[in-house]
Protein backbone atom coordinates (compact mmCIF):
# COMPACT_ATOMS: atom_id res chain seq x y z
CA UNK A 1 0.00 0.00 0.00
CA UNK A 2 1.79 3.11 -1.18
CA UNK A 3 -0.81 5.80 -1.81
CA UNK A 4 -1.38 6.89 1.79
CA UNK A 5 -3.77 9.85 1.92
CA UNK A 6 -3.14 12.21 4.84
CA UNK A 7 -5.48 14.96 3.66
CA UNK A 8 -8.38 16.00 5.86
CA UNK A 9 -11.26 18.43 5.65
CA UNK A 10 -11.89 20.35 8.85
CA UNK A 11 -15.24 22.02 8.31
CA UNK A 12 -14.22 23.42 4.93
CA UNK A 13 -10.60 23.98 5.91
CA UNK A 14 -8.78 21.56 3.61
CA UNK A 15 -5.41 20.38 4.88
CA UNK A 16 -2.77 18.29 3.08
CA UNK A 17 -2.15 16.54 6.40
CA UNK A 18 -3.63 16.77 9.90
CA UNK A 19 -0.62 18.43 11.58
CA UNK A 20 -1.05 22.07 12.60
CA UNK A 21 1.41 24.28 14.46
CA UNK A 22 -0.50 25.44 17.55
CA UNK A 23 -1.26 29.10 18.16
CA UNK A 24 1.16 30.85 20.48
CA UNK A 25 3.76 28.16 19.91
CA UNK A 26 5.03 29.08 16.47
CA UNK A 27 5.35 32.85 16.51
CA UNK A 28 3.84 34.08 13.26
CA UNK A 29 5.28 31.08 11.40
CA UNK A 30 7.93 33.08 9.56
CA UNK A 31 10.33 32.55 12.48
CA UNK A 32 10.61 28.90 11.44
CA UNK A 33 10.83 29.42 7.67
CA UNK A 34 14.62 28.90 7.64
CA UNK A 35 14.35 25.56 9.40
CA UNK A 36 11.12 24.06 8.08
CA UNK A 37 9.28 24.05 4.73
CA UNK A 38 6.10 25.56 6.14
CA UNK A 39 4.03 24.44 3.15
CA UNK A 40 4.51 20.83 4.33
CA UNK A 41 2.55 21.53 7.52
CA UNK A 42 -1.19 20.98 7.44
CA UNK A 43 -1.53 24.56 8.63
CA UNK A 44 0.08 27.17 10.84
CA UNK A 45 -2.09 28.71 13.55
CA UNK A 46 -0.91 32.27 14.02
CA UNK A 47 -0.07 33.76 17.38
CA UNK A 48 -3.27 35.24 18.80
CA UNK A 49 -4.10 38.53 17.11
CA UNK A 50 -5.88 41.48 18.66
CA UNK A 51 -6.90 44.58 16.73
CA UNK A 52 -4.13 46.58 18.41
CA UNK A 53 -0.57 45.60 19.33
CA UNK A 54 -0.12 44.24 22.86
CA UNK A 55 2.86 44.28 25.18
CA UNK A 56 2.14 41.05 27.08
CA UNK A 57 3.17 40.25 30.64
CA UNK A 58 6.58 41.09 32.09
CA UNK A 59 8.95 38.14 32.55
CA UNK A 60 9.05 35.59 34.06
CA UNK A 61 6.66 34.19 31.48
CA UNK A 62 7.31 30.45 31.59
CA UNK A 63 8.29 27.83 34.10
CA UNK A 64 8.88 24.16 33.53
CA UNK A 65 6.83 21.72 35.61
CA UNK A 66 6.87 17.89 35.64
CA UNK A 67 6.48 16.86 31.97
CA UNK A 68 4.92 20.22 31.32
CA UNK A 69 5.31 23.90 30.82
CA UNK A 70 3.42 26.69 32.53
CA UNK A 71 3.13 29.93 30.59
CA UNK A 72 1.70 33.39 31.00
CA UNK A 73 2.91 35.26 27.95
CA UNK A 74 -0.10 37.59 27.96
CA UNK A 75 -0.66 37.57 24.19
CA UNK A 76 2.16 39.92 23.25
CA UNK A 77 1.54 40.70 19.61
CA UNK A 78 1.78 43.09 16.71
CA UNK A 79 -1.95 43.42 16.06
CA UNK A 80 -3.93 42.48 12.98
CA UNK A 81 -2.91 45.37 10.73
CA UNK A 82 0.82 44.84 11.09
CA UNK A 83 0.25 41.09 10.70
CA UNK A 84 -1.44 41.60 7.36
CA UNK A 85 1.19 44.10 6.20
CA UNK A 86 4.36 42.45 7.55
CA UNK A 87 3.79 38.70 7.93
CA UNK A 88 1.04 37.60 5.58
CA UNK A 89 2.85 38.39 2.28
CA UNK A 90 5.77 36.19 3.34
CA UNK A 91 3.43 33.41 4.47
CA UNK A 92 1.57 33.58 1.15
CA UNK A 93 4.84 33.38 -0.75
CA UNK A 94 5.83 30.30 1.27
CA UNK A 95 2.54 28.57 0.46
CA UNK A 96 1.40 28.33 4.07
CA UNK A 97 -2.14 27.31 5.01
CA UNK A 98 -3.03 30.01 7.51
CA UNK A 99 -5.35 29.44 10.44
CA UNK A 100 -5.61 32.84 12.04
CA UNK A 101 -6.16 32.92 15.79
CA UNK A 102 -8.12 36.02 16.84
CA UNK A 103 -8.78 37.47 20.29
CA UNK A 104 -11.04 40.26 21.41
CA UNK A 105 -12.01 42.01 24.60
CA UNK A 106 -15.52 42.53 23.29
CA UNK A 107 -17.81 40.80 20.83
CA UNK A 108 -17.43 43.75 18.47
CA UNK A 109 -13.68 43.25 18.38
CA UNK A 110 -14.04 39.64 17.23
CA UNK A 111 -16.45 40.80 14.53
CA UNK A 112 -14.12 43.58 13.41
CA UNK A 113 -11.14 41.22 13.28
CA UNK A 114 -13.15 38.70 11.26
CA UNK A 115 -14.18 41.41 8.80
CA UNK A 116 -10.65 42.66 8.33
CA UNK A 117 -9.16 39.20 7.88
CA UNK A 118 -11.91 38.04 5.52
CA UNK A 119 -10.83 40.77 3.12
CA UNK A 120 -7.17 39.74 3.24
CA UNK A 121 -5.70 37.32 0.74
CA UNK A 122 -4.15 34.02 1.86
CA UNK A 123 -6.19 33.28 4.96
CA UNK A 124 -7.86 29.89 5.14
CA UNK A 125 -9.79 29.85 8.42
CA UNK A 126 -10.34 31.73 11.67
CA UNK A 127 -9.67 30.22 15.07
CA UNK A 128 -11.55 32.15 17.74
CA UNK A 129 -9.47 32.37 20.88
CA UNK A 130 -12.14 32.28 23.58
CA UNK A 131 -9.93 30.35 25.95
CA UNK A 132 -6.68 32.13 26.85
CA UNK A 133 -6.37 31.82 30.64
CA UNK A 134 -3.72 34.55 30.92
CA UNK A 135 -5.51 37.79 30.23
CA UNK A 136 -8.10 39.38 32.43
CA UNK A 137 -10.39 40.91 29.85
CA UNK A 138 -12.50 39.15 27.24
CA UNK A 139 -11.51 35.92 25.57
CA UNK A 140 -12.04 33.28 28.16
CA UNK A 141 -15.11 34.99 29.57
CA UNK A 142 -16.83 34.08 26.30
CA UNK A 143 -15.43 30.56 26.29
CA UNK A 144 -16.56 29.80 29.83
CA UNK A 145 -20.25 30.25 29.17
CA UNK A 146 -22.68 28.61 26.76
CA UNK A 147 -24.27 31.96 25.86
CA UNK A 148 -20.92 33.70 25.43
CA UNK A 149 -19.68 30.97 23.11
CA UNK A 150 -22.91 30.94 21.12
CA UNK A 151 -22.98 34.73 20.78
CA UNK A 152 -19.39 35.21 19.61
CA UNK A 153 -19.54 32.33 17.11
CA UNK A 154 -22.85 33.49 15.61
CA UNK A 155 -21.68 37.08 15.38
CA UNK A 156 -18.45 36.12 13.59
CA UNK A 157 -20.23 33.66 11.29
CA UNK A 158 -22.45 36.49 10.04
CA UNK A 159 -19.50 38.52 8.70
CA UNK A 160 -17.14 35.96 7.19
CA UNK A 161 -17.05 33.32 4.48
CA UNK A 162 -14.06 31.64 6.18
CA UNK A 163 -14.44 28.50 8.30
CA UNK A 164 -14.89 29.57 11.94
CA UNK A 165 -13.26 27.37 14.56
CA UNK A 166 -13.61 28.41 18.21
CA UNK A 167 -10.75 27.20 20.42
CA UNK A 168 -12.17 25.88 23.66
CA UNK A 169 -10.87 26.05 27.20
CA UNK A 170 -10.67 22.97 29.40
CA UNK A 171 -11.25 25.18 32.45
CA UNK A 172 -15.00 24.49 32.51
CA UNK A 173 -17.22 21.88 34.09
CA UNK A 174 -18.30 20.33 30.79
CA UNK A 175 -16.35 21.16 27.66
CA UNK A 176 -18.70 19.09 25.48
CA UNK A 177 -21.62 21.39 26.28
CA UNK A 178 -19.50 24.37 25.19
CA UNK A 179 -18.68 22.54 21.95
CA UNK A 180 -22.41 21.95 21.44
CA UNK A 181 -23.14 25.67 21.93
CA UNK A 182 -20.49 26.44 19.30
CA UNK A 183 -22.02 23.91 16.91
CA UNK A 184 -25.51 25.32 17.45
CA UNK A 185 -24.15 28.78 16.63
CA UNK A 186 -22.82 27.55 13.29
CA UNK A 187 -19.17 26.81 14.08
CA UNK A 188 -17.52 24.84 11.29
CA UNK A 189 -15.29 22.96 13.73
CA UNK A 190 -13.95 23.30 17.27
CA UNK A 191 -10.37 23.09 18.49
CA UNK A 192 -9.48 21.90 21.98
CA UNK A 193 -7.91 22.15 24.42
CA UNK A 194 -6.24 25.39 25.34
CA UNK A 195 -4.04 25.27 28.45
CA UNK A 196 -5.10 24.32 31.96
CA UNK A 197 -5.08 27.12 34.51
CA UNK A 198 -2.28 26.32 36.95
CA UNK A 199 0.43 27.82 39.14
CA UNK A 200 3.84 27.17 40.64
CA UNK A 201 5.45 28.72 43.72
CA UNK A 202 9.10 29.13 44.72
CA UNK A 203 8.97 27.94 48.31
CA UNK A 204 12.31 29.57 49.24
CA UNK A 205 11.05 33.06 48.39
CA UNK A 206 7.31 32.21 48.71
CA UNK A 207 6.82 34.03 45.43
CA UNK A 208 4.85 32.77 42.43
CA UNK A 209 7.19 31.62 39.69
CA UNK A 210 5.25 33.55 37.02
CA UNK A 211 4.87 37.32 37.05
CA UNK A 212 1.18 36.83 36.30
CA UNK A 213 0.93 34.50 39.35
CA UNK A 214 -1.13 31.94 37.39
CA UNK A 215 -0.62 30.58 33.89
CA UNK A 216 -1.62 27.88 31.46
CA UNK A 217 -0.23 24.35 31.65
CA UNK A 218 0.70 22.51 28.45
CA UNK A 219 2.89 19.58 27.48
CA UNK A 220 2.71 15.81 27.97
CA UNK A 221 1.39 16.29 31.54
CA UNK A 222 -2.05 17.31 30.23
CA UNK A 223 -2.35 14.83 27.35
CA UNK A 224 -4.65 12.18 28.92
CA UNK A 225 -7.08 14.87 30.08
CA UNK A 226 -7.10 16.46 26.64
CA UNK A 227 -7.71 13.09 24.95
CA UNK A 228 -10.66 12.49 27.27
CA UNK A 229 -12.12 15.91 26.41
CA UNK A 230 -11.78 15.31 22.66
CA UNK A 231 -13.51 11.95 23.13
CA UNK A 232 -16.37 13.57 25.06
CA UNK A 233 -16.83 16.25 22.42
CA UNK A 234 -16.74 13.67 19.61
CA UNK A 235 -19.74 11.95 21.23
CA UNK A 236 -21.61 15.24 21.57
CA UNK A 237 -21.07 17.21 18.35
CA UNK A 238 -21.01 16.35 14.66
CA UNK A 239 -18.67 19.12 13.48
CA UNK A 240 -14.96 18.23 13.12
CA UNK A 241 -12.60 18.58 16.07
CA UNK A 242 -9.01 19.75 16.09
CA UNK A 243 -7.39 18.03 19.07
CA UNK A 244 -4.37 19.14 21.03
CA UNK A 245 -2.65 18.89 24.37
CA UNK A 246 0.84 17.48 24.89
CA UNK A 247 1.30 15.77 21.52
CA UNK A 248 4.99 14.91 21.22
CA UNK A 249 5.02 11.84 18.95
CA UNK A 250 3.09 10.18 16.13
CA UNK A 251 1.51 7.82 18.66
CA UNK A 252 0.25 10.81 20.65
CA UNK A 253 -1.24 12.37 17.51
CA UNK A 254 -2.90 9.08 16.56
CA UNK A 255 -4.40 8.83 20.04
CA UNK A 256 -6.23 12.12 19.50
CA UNK A 257 -7.33 11.12 15.99
CA UNK A 258 -8.69 7.78 17.16
CA UNK A 259 -10.47 9.59 20.01
CA UNK A 260 -12.22 11.74 17.42
CA UNK A 261 -9.96 14.56 16.22
CA UNK A 262 -9.89 15.18 12.46
CA UNK A 263 -6.68 17.18 12.80
CA UNK A 264 -4.26 17.91 15.63
CA UNK A 265 -2.14 20.81 16.81
CA UNK A 266 1.37 20.54 18.20
CA UNK A 267 2.69 23.29 20.45
CA UNK A 268 5.06 22.65 23.31
CA UNK A 269 6.78 19.72 21.55
CA UNK A 270 7.79 22.08 18.74
CA UNK A 271 9.80 24.07 21.30
CA UNK A 272 11.71 20.92 22.14
CA UNK A 273 12.13 19.79 18.53
CA UNK A 274 11.46 22.28 15.73
CA UNK A 275 12.07 19.47 13.25
CA UNK A 276 9.30 17.30 14.74
CA UNK A 277 6.93 17.63 11.77
CA UNK A 278 8.58 15.21 9.35
CA UNK A 279 9.02 12.71 12.20
CA UNK A 280 5.30 12.90 13.04
CA UNK A 281 4.34 12.46 9.39
CA UNK A 282 6.64 9.46 8.97
CA UNK A 283 5.30 7.87 12.14
CA UNK A 284 1.68 8.34 11.11
CA UNK A 285 2.34 6.94 7.62
CA UNK A 286 4.09 3.94 9.11
CA UNK A 287 1.10 3.32 11.37
CA UNK A 288 -1.37 3.55 8.49
CA UNK A 289 0.74 1.11 6.44
CA UNK A 290 0.92 -1.37 9.30
CA UNK A 291 -2.82 -1.21 9.90
CA UNK A 292 -3.84 -1.24 6.26
CA UNK A 293 -5.61 2.11 6.50
CA UNK A 294 -5.18 4.17 3.34
CA UNK A 295 -6.87 7.39 4.41
CA UNK A 296 -6.11 9.07 7.73
CA UNK A 297 -9.68 10.41 7.60
CA UNK A 298 -10.91 6.82 8.04
CA UNK A 299 -9.13 6.63 11.37
CA UNK A 300 -10.93 9.63 12.88
CA UNK A 301 -13.05 8.61 15.85
CA UNK A 302 -12.34 4.93 15.23
CA UNK A 303 -11.94 4.11 18.91
CA UNK A 304 -13.30 0.67 19.78
CA UNK A 305 -15.00 0.72 23.16
CA UNK A 306 -16.91 -2.53 22.73
CA UNK A 307 -16.58 -5.11 25.45
CA UNK A 308 -15.17 -8.43 24.33
CA UNK A 309 -13.25 -11.41 25.53
CA UNK A 310 -9.59 -10.70 26.04
CA UNK A 311 -7.52 -12.35 23.37
CA UNK A 312 -4.95 -14.92 24.32
CA UNK A 313 -1.58 -13.20 24.10
CA UNK A 314 1.43 -15.47 24.38
CA UNK A 315 4.13 -14.10 26.60
Amino acid sequence: MTDIDLSVDVGGLRLSNPLIAASGCYGYGVEYADAVDLSTLGAVASKGLFLAPREGHPPQRIVETPSGMLNAIGLQGIGVHRYIAEKLPELRRLGVTNLINICGSTLDEYVELARILSDAEGIHALELNISCPNIKEGGITFGCSLHGTFDVVSAVKKVTHLPVIPKLTPNVTDVASIAKAAEDAGADAVSLVNTFLAMAIDVETRRPKLSNIVGGLSGPAIRPIAVRMVYECRRTVKIPIIGMGGIASAVDALEFIIAGATAVQVGTANFVDPFIWSKLTAGIEDYLQRHGVRRIADLVGSIDTSTREKEWVSS
Binding site: Y32, P58, E64, S67, N71, V272
Partner: protein, 269 residues
Protein backbone atom coordinates in the same frame (compact mmCIF):
# COMPACT_ATOMS: atom_id res chain seq x y z
CA UNK B 1 19.72 27.78 9.41
CA UNK B 2 20.01 26.05 12.78
CA UNK B 3 20.89 22.36 12.89
CA UNK B 4 19.72 19.75 15.38
CA UNK B 5 22.48 17.25 16.14
CA UNK B 6 22.30 14.22 18.38
CA UNK B 7 25.79 14.89 19.69
CA UNK B 8 28.01 12.39 21.44
CA UNK B 9 29.85 13.54 24.56
CA UNK B 10 33.56 13.49 23.69
CA UNK B 11 34.79 14.75 27.03
CA UNK B 12 33.38 16.05 30.30
CA UNK B 13 35.79 17.85 32.60
CA UNK B 14 34.54 18.68 36.08
CA UNK B 15 36.29 21.88 37.06
CA UNK B 16 34.81 22.12 40.57
CA UNK B 17 31.89 20.66 42.54
CA UNK B 18 29.57 22.88 40.42
CA UNK B 19 31.31 23.75 37.15
CA UNK B 20 32.06 21.50 34.19
CA UNK B 21 33.13 21.84 30.57
CA UNK B 22 31.38 19.34 28.36
CA UNK B 23 32.54 18.72 24.79
CA UNK B 24 29.97 17.63 22.22
CA UNK B 25 30.61 16.08 18.79
CA UNK B 26 28.59 18.63 16.83
CA UNK B 27 31.13 19.81 14.24
CA UNK B 28 28.51 21.19 11.82
CA UNK B 29 27.14 23.50 14.50
CA UNK B 30 30.60 24.39 15.82
CA UNK B 31 31.87 25.36 12.36
CA UNK B 32 28.95 27.74 11.85
CA UNK B 33 29.06 29.35 15.31
CA UNK B 34 30.05 32.99 15.72
CA UNK B 35 31.23 34.41 19.08
CA UNK B 36 28.29 35.05 21.40
CA UNK B 37 25.88 32.66 19.69
CA UNK B 38 24.18 29.92 21.66
CA UNK B 39 22.84 26.39 21.38
CA UNK B 40 19.72 24.83 22.92
CA UNK B 41 20.62 21.52 24.54
CA UNK B 42 18.69 18.64 25.96
CA UNK B 43 20.32 15.73 27.75
CA UNK B 44 18.01 12.74 27.86
CA UNK B 45 14.93 11.89 25.83
CA UNK B 46 12.04 11.62 28.26
CA UNK B 47 9.76 14.49 29.15
CA UNK B 48 11.60 15.41 32.37
CA UNK B 49 13.29 17.78 31.90
CA UNK B 50 11.08 18.71 28.97
CA UNK B 51 12.43 21.88 27.42
CA UNK B 52 15.90 22.55 26.08
CA UNK B 53 18.16 25.02 27.88
CA UNK B 54 20.27 27.74 26.25
CA UNK B 55 24.08 27.75 26.55
CA UNK B 56 26.62 30.07 24.98
CA UNK B 57 29.10 28.10 22.92
CA UNK B 58 32.31 28.08 25.00
CA UNK B 59 35.07 26.65 22.76
CA UNK B 60 35.26 25.49 19.17
CA UNK B 61 37.22 22.23 19.42
CA UNK B 62 39.67 21.64 16.57
CA UNK B 63 42.11 18.92 15.65
CA UNK B 64 44.49 20.55 13.21
CA UNK B 65 42.26 22.29 10.70
CA UNK B 66 39.33 20.02 11.34
CA UNK B 67 36.49 21.17 13.60
CA UNK B 68 35.54 18.29 15.90
CA UNK B 69 32.89 19.82 18.10
CA UNK B 70 32.06 22.48 20.63
CA UNK B 71 32.21 22.76 24.38
CA UNK B 72 29.85 24.31 26.90
CA UNK B 73 30.76 25.83 30.25
CA UNK B 74 28.04 24.82 32.68
CA UNK B 75 27.29 25.52 36.33
CA UNK B 76 25.13 22.98 38.12
CA UNK B 77 21.99 24.76 39.33
CA UNK B 78 19.03 22.76 37.97
CA UNK B 79 17.91 19.53 36.34
CA UNK B 80 19.57 20.04 32.95
CA UNK B 81 22.87 21.35 34.33
CA UNK B 82 22.95 18.40 36.76
CA UNK B 83 22.61 15.99 33.82
CA UNK B 84 25.32 17.87 31.94
CA UNK B 85 27.59 17.66 34.99
CA UNK B 86 27.02 13.92 35.33
CA UNK B 87 27.21 13.05 31.60
CA UNK B 88 29.94 10.63 30.57
CA UNK B 89 31.84 9.84 27.39
CA UNK B 90 29.52 8.45 24.72
CA UNK B 91 26.27 9.88 26.12
CA UNK B 92 24.10 11.57 23.51
CA UNK B 93 22.89 15.13 24.02
CA UNK B 94 20.55 16.89 21.63
CA UNK B 95 22.11 20.15 20.46
CA UNK B 96 20.28 22.78 18.36
CA UNK B 97 22.09 25.77 16.90
CA UNK B 98 23.86 28.02 16.29
CA UNK B 99 21.26 30.57 17.37
CA UNK B 100 21.02 34.26 18.13
CA UNK B 101 22.82 37.49 17.37
CA UNK B 102 26.60 37.32 17.91
CA UNK B 103 29.06 39.86 19.29
CA UNK B 104 30.44 42.39 16.83
CA UNK B 105 34.22 42.15 17.17
CA UNK B 106 36.36 45.29 17.03
CA UNK B 107 39.78 45.86 15.48
CA UNK B 108 42.79 47.96 16.43
CA UNK B 109 43.10 50.73 17.46
CA UNK B 110 39.92 49.99 19.43
CA UNK B 111 40.62 47.78 22.46
CA UNK B 112 38.35 44.91 23.51
CA UNK B 113 37.55 44.68 27.20
CA UNK B 114 35.67 41.52 28.11
CA UNK B 115 33.83 41.48 31.45
CA UNK B 116 32.85 38.06 32.79
CA UNK B 117 30.94 37.19 35.95
CA UNK B 118 31.07 33.51 36.98
CA UNK B 119 29.68 31.21 34.31
CA UNK B 120 29.41 34.34 32.17
CA UNK B 121 32.94 33.51 31.02
CA UNK B 122 31.32 31.22 28.44
CA UNK B 123 31.15 33.41 25.30
CA UNK B 124 34.63 34.88 25.69
CA UNK B 125 36.81 32.02 24.48
CA UNK B 126 35.35 32.15 20.94
CA UNK B 127 35.39 35.96 21.04
CA UNK B 128 39.06 35.92 22.07
CA UNK B 129 39.99 33.77 19.08
CA UNK B 130 38.32 36.15 16.64
CA UNK B 131 39.87 39.20 18.34
CA UNK B 132 43.32 37.59 18.19
CA UNK B 133 42.92 36.96 14.46
CA UNK B 134 42.29 40.68 14.10
CA UNK B 135 45.21 41.59 16.33
CA UNK B 136 42.91 43.45 18.71
CA UNK B 137 44.39 44.31 22.12
CA UNK B 138 42.21 42.33 24.54
CA UNK B 139 41.62 42.41 28.29
CA UNK B 140 39.49 40.06 30.39
CA UNK B 141 37.99 41.36 33.63
CA UNK B 142 36.88 38.18 35.34
CA UNK B 143 35.06 37.98 38.64
CA UNK B 144 33.75 35.10 40.74
CA UNK B 145 32.67 34.39 44.29
CA UNK B 146 36.01 32.80 45.15
CA UNK B 147 39.35 32.00 43.54
CA UNK B 148 38.44 28.32 43.19
CA UNK B 149 35.73 29.36 40.69
CA UNK B 150 38.07 31.15 38.29
CA UNK B 151 38.82 28.88 35.35
CA UNK B 152 40.81 28.79 32.09
CA UNK B 153 43.18 31.54 33.24
CA UNK B 154 46.10 29.87 31.42
CA UNK B 155 43.98 29.52 28.27
CA UNK B 156 43.42 33.28 28.09
CA UNK B 157 47.00 34.15 29.13
CA UNK B 158 48.33 31.89 26.35
CA UNK B 159 46.40 34.01 23.85
CA UNK B 160 47.91 37.30 24.96
CA UNK B 161 44.81 38.35 26.86
CA UNK B 162 45.53 40.61 29.83
CA UNK B 163 43.58 39.06 32.70
CA UNK B 164 42.31 41.14 35.64
CA UNK B 165 40.79 39.06 38.41
CA UNK B 166 38.43 39.84 41.26
CA UNK B 167 36.67 37.70 43.84
CA UNK B 168 33.95 38.51 46.31
CA UNK B 169 35.91 36.87 49.15
CA UNK B 170 39.21 38.41 48.10
CA UNK B 171 40.92 35.00 47.76
CA UNK B 172 42.25 35.90 44.30
CA UNK B 173 42.72 39.31 42.70
CA UNK B 174 40.90 42.35 43.96
CA UNK B 175 38.22 41.89 46.61
CA UNK B 176 34.72 42.76 45.44
CA UNK B 177 32.75 42.85 42.22
CA UNK B 178 34.28 42.71 38.77
CA UNK B 179 33.03 46.23 38.09
CA UNK B 180 35.58 47.63 40.61
CA UNK B 181 38.67 46.93 38.49
CA UNK B 182 36.68 47.77 35.34
CA UNK B 183 35.90 51.26 36.60
CA UNK B 184 39.50 51.85 37.68
CA UNK B 185 40.67 50.86 34.20
CA UNK B 186 38.09 53.08 32.51
CA UNK B 187 39.31 56.02 34.62
CA UNK B 188 42.91 55.34 33.65
CA UNK B 189 42.71 54.82 29.91
CA UNK B 190 42.80 57.12 26.91
CA UNK B 191 42.17 54.30 24.46
CA UNK B 192 38.92 53.82 22.61
CA UNK B 193 37.32 50.77 24.21
CA UNK B 194 34.53 48.32 23.31
CA UNK B 195 33.18 46.51 26.36
CA UNK B 196 31.80 42.97 26.05
CA UNK B 197 29.98 41.67 29.11
CA UNK B 198 28.31 38.44 30.18
CA UNK B 199 27.20 37.48 33.66
CA UNK B 200 24.37 38.06 36.13
CA UNK B 201 21.89 40.69 34.97
CA UNK B 202 22.75 43.00 37.89
CA UNK B 203 26.37 42.90 36.73
CA UNK B 204 25.32 43.72 33.17
CA UNK B 205 23.28 46.63 34.48
CA UNK B 206 26.28 47.96 36.44
CA UNK B 207 28.55 47.54 33.39
CA UNK B 208 25.98 49.34 31.25
CA UNK B 209 25.91 52.29 33.66
CA UNK B 210 29.72 52.42 33.71
CA UNK B 211 29.82 52.37 29.91
CA UNK B 212 27.41 55.30 29.86
CA UNK B 213 29.35 57.24 32.47
CA UNK B 214 32.67 56.79 30.68
CA UNK B 215 31.23 57.40 27.20
CA UNK B 216 32.03 54.00 25.80
CA UNK B 217 29.88 51.30 24.20
CA UNK B 218 29.07 47.95 25.74
CA UNK B 219 27.73 44.80 24.10
CA UNK B 220 26.08 42.59 26.71
CA UNK B 221 24.99 38.98 26.43
CA UNK B 222 21.82 38.45 28.46
CA UNK B 223 20.33 35.27 29.84
CA UNK B 224 16.57 35.13 30.16
CA UNK B 225 14.36 32.10 30.82
CA UNK B 226 14.00 30.71 27.32
CA UNK B 227 11.53 28.16 25.95
CA UNK B 228 12.50 27.43 22.38
CA UNK B 229 15.40 29.62 21.18
CA UNK B 230 13.71 30.04 17.79
CA UNK B 231 11.31 32.94 18.37
CA UNK B 232 8.25 30.73 18.74
CA UNK B 233 7.25 31.11 22.37
CA UNK B 234 7.88 34.75 23.39
CA UNK B 235 9.20 33.68 26.81
CA UNK B 236 12.67 35.23 26.77
CA UNK B 237 11.64 38.85 26.21
CA UNK B 238 13.59 41.82 27.51
CA UNK B 239 12.52 45.50 27.46
CA UNK B 240 14.28 47.83 25.01
CA UNK B 241 13.93 51.59 24.65
CA UNK B 242 11.69 52.94 21.94
CA UNK B 243 12.65 55.98 19.95
CA UNK B 244 10.60 58.80 21.43
CA UNK B 245 10.32 57.22 24.88
CA UNK B 246 8.69 54.17 26.34
CA UNK B 247 9.79 50.62 25.84
CA UNK B 248 8.73 47.38 24.25
CA UNK B 249 9.62 43.73 24.72
CA UNK B 250 11.83 41.94 22.21
CA UNK B 251 12.74 38.27 22.15
CA UNK B 252 16.30 37.80 23.42
CA UNK B 253 16.68 34.63 21.31
CA UNK B 254 16.25 36.56 18.05
CA UNK B 255 17.19 40.17 18.85
CA UNK B 256 19.90 38.93 21.25
CA UNK B 257 21.35 37.35 23.28
CA UNK B 258 23.87 40.12 22.51
CA UNK B 259 22.47 43.64 22.84
CA UNK B 260 23.98 47.09 22.80
CA UNK B 261 23.72 47.90 26.49
CA UNK B 262 22.26 51.38 25.94
CA UNK B 263 19.29 49.85 24.10
CA UNK B 264 18.13 47.89 27.15
CA UNK B 265 15.79 49.18 29.87
CA UNK B 266 17.43 48.13 33.14
CA UNK B 267 14.99 49.41 35.76
CA UNK B 268 11.91 47.78 34.24
CA UNK B 269 11.55 44.57 36.23
Amino acid sequence: MPLDVEARVIQNTRLSPDYNVITLAAPEIAAATKPGQFVMVRPGHGSDPLLRRPFSVFEIIRSGNRVEGLSLLSKRIGATTRLLYEAVYGDVISCLGPLGRPFEPVSSPVEAWMVAGGVGLAPFATLTEVLQERGTKTTLFYGARTGAELFYLDWFAARDVRVVLSTEDGSTGERGRVTGPLEQALQGTDAEVMIYACGPEKMLEAVSHLAGRYKTTAQVSVERVMGCGMGGCYSCVIPVHETGGGHHFVRSCLAGPVFTAADLVWDHD
